[in-house]
């Protein structure tokens, strides 16, 4: 049984704008899944189906094998936490602490547990020092962390991040990469995220869905997807710089093995130039 599964999912916005077309999506336990696609591909619309915010026009969404109903919607929203692209949409309380406490209070927890969860979530995202701050005094990266902490405090098993790196500086992106990897490794969570920054994907994803115009045009592991440059170009995306460079070196007669992450590429190049056996 998969944590999240969509079967032939279709969604049409009011005004007959088709946003999703026969989407079959699977999220197993403890996976890191990237949904890549250009603007308007349908990534955010798909995510809003994962916790019942949007109801499918046709097809179905199954969470732990069960469809989303009015009765289980609260439980589903505790199970699947969504972090939206713009943190200002998600941080609506006057202080950071109160905002993070919003989810746990809605779960009907007592104040001691709420306090504990808030401080654990702050610790997980590394912003304990911001607890009593007001949101409009925070930087974009800090706001993003607060938004993530607000969802983490509900202790979801699946964390969905919509364009998590949007508006972050390089350090913020690097920190977020480490954080996403730790969620899967340390806490056994399933992380699903959308992005059109393909360079980021090999570092933090095991599996990729490529979307275009409301359809899933390809899915597979990092190697399987990035071996198809033409397909990626046809959906206004590109192959990350590292595999592109290694491919070019290989075509020019240098014996390098293919790699997708920085560490693997470093290893591959050092070996190719005889610096490592």
């Amino acid at each position: 049984m998969h944590l999240i599964e969509t079967r032939e999912l279709c969604y049409v916005y009011p005004g007959k704008v088709a946003a999703l077309n026969n989407i079959n999506f699977i999220a197993p336990r403890n996976a890191r899944i990237a949904v890549i696609g250009s603007n308007g591909a349908g990534k955010s619309t798909l995510f809003k189906h994962f916790n019942g915010i949007f109801k499918p026009t046709s097809g179905s969404v199954l969470i732990r094998g069960e469809p989303i109903t009015k009765q289980n919607s609260k439980e589903i929203r505790k199970f699947v936490g969504i972090v939206f692209q713009n943190p200002d949409d998600q941080i609506f309380s006057p202080t950071v602490e109160q905002d993070i406490a919003f989810g746990p209070t809605n779960l009907g927890l007592d104040s001691q547990t709420i306090h504990h969860r808030v401080h654990e979530a702050l610790k997980v995202v590394g912003i304990e020092h911001l607890a009593s701050r007001v949101p409009h005094h925070l930087s974009g990266g800090e706001k993003k962390r607060v938004a993530i902490a607000g969802v983490i405090a509900m202790e979801p098993e699946v964390l969905v991040l919509d364009e998590p790196t949007a508006g972050l500086d390089p350090k913020g992106v690097a920190d977020l990469n480490t954080f996403i990897n730790s969620l899967a490794k340390k806490y056994g969570m399933t992380v699903i995220f959308s992005t059109h920054d393909v360079g980021l994907v090999p570092e933090i994803a095991d599996y990729i869905y490529v979307m275009d115009k409301g359809r899933v045009v390809a899915c597979g592991t990092v190697d399987e997807i990035f071996i198809q440059p033409d397909m990626l170009k046809s959906v206004r995306l590109d192959v990350p710089v590292i595999p592109k460079l290694l491919k070019s070196l290989k075509e020019n007669g240098i014996e390098v093995s293919m790699a997708y992450t920085y560490t693997d590429a470093e290893e591959s190049l050092l070996r190719a130039f005889g610096k490592r056996s």
Partner: protein, 275 residues
């Protein structure tokens, strides 16, 4: 007005003994002073009570280490509006006096009465003192602390949640307004630029206001979605942790309340004895 909002916030973030007091203490003192002054009967006794209360306010204001200019500016932004309402009292009779003596007769049968002038002055005194305590409260208390204080004092959970969101988005829209203003300046648009046609300026202003409305509507939709995602429902409330007052805060609050209650009672008793 938006810049005023940010200025109030900057003042509230300063440090002084008054700033450090728990919001509940400041709320209680401000409201006690207002209630005590409003409860004083409409007589010249208000001047004495008002003067003592104003001295009390001045002592507190000095302790805040805020400039008197801050107070004067804030008072001046409020007084003109309500000052007009108070000014018009001089033309009307009211229920607090039985006899009226004409001070000046104007055309169209309009008269100004001695008693009405006195009433207007009493009203002005009450108004200025009450507003002064509100200015003191808002200049020394961060908005979220004020809300937490009110929630701890028993403000209904529904109000606290709604007010909390209002505070949050007041600043979000404040920043949005600033950005729109900066964009207009970047494009050399000034609504008071007389070189530009009047109709054009009006239209651009209309577009700007319209954009703000549409953005706030869209923002509202997105915020509601994210609230739903985090389990928002009928039972939702703003989480405010318990926080007992310190001994010195209790002491300050008790002494202040005794003072606020004792002053009007003492003056009232003195006035009765004199008669």
């Amino acid at each position: 007005m938006i810049e005023e909002l940010f200025q109030i916030e900057r003042d509230a973030y300063r440090d002084s003994v008054i700033h450090r007091l728990d919001a509940r203490v400041k709320i209680a003192i401000a409201f006690a002073a207002i209630i005590a002054l409003v409860a004083v009967p409409y007589s010249t006794m208000v001047y004495t009570v008002g003067a003592i209360f104003f001295l009390f306010f001045l002592v507190l204001w000095v302790c805040t280490r805020l400039s008197p200019v801050v107070y004067a500016k804030r008072l001046m932004t409020i007084v003109p509006l309500w000052g007009m309402v108070i000014f018009f009292q001089i033309f009307f009779k009211n229920k607090y006096y039985t006899e009226y003596h004409v001070f000046m007769s104007l055309p169209l049968g309009i008269s100004i009465y001695y008693e009405s002038i006195e009433f207007a002055f009493i009203l002005l005194a009450k108004f200025i003192i009450c507003i002064s305590f509100i200015i003191l409260l808002s200049s020394t208390t961060k908005m979220h602390e004020m809300l937490e204080g009110a929630a701890r004092m028993g403000l209904p959970a529904e109000f606290a949640l709604a007010l909390g969101m209002m505070i949050r988005y007041l600043f979000v829209f404040g920043y949005m307004f600033r950005k729109i203003n900066e964009t207009l300046k970047t494009k050399c648009f000034d609504v008071f630029d007389r070189q530009l046609p009047y109709r054009y300026r009006l239209r651009q202003l209309g577009y700007t206001i319209g954009t703000m409305f549409i953005r706030s509507y869209e923002q509202g939709e997105r915020v509601y979605t994210s609230m739903i995602c985090r389990g928002y429902g009928r039972e939702s409330y703003l989480f405010v942790e318990r926080k007992p007052l310190k001994v010195r805060e209790w002491a300050f609050l008790t002494l202040s309340l005794i003072f606020i209650i004792a002053v009007p009672i003492t003056i009232w008793l003195t006035a009765i004895r004199l008669f």
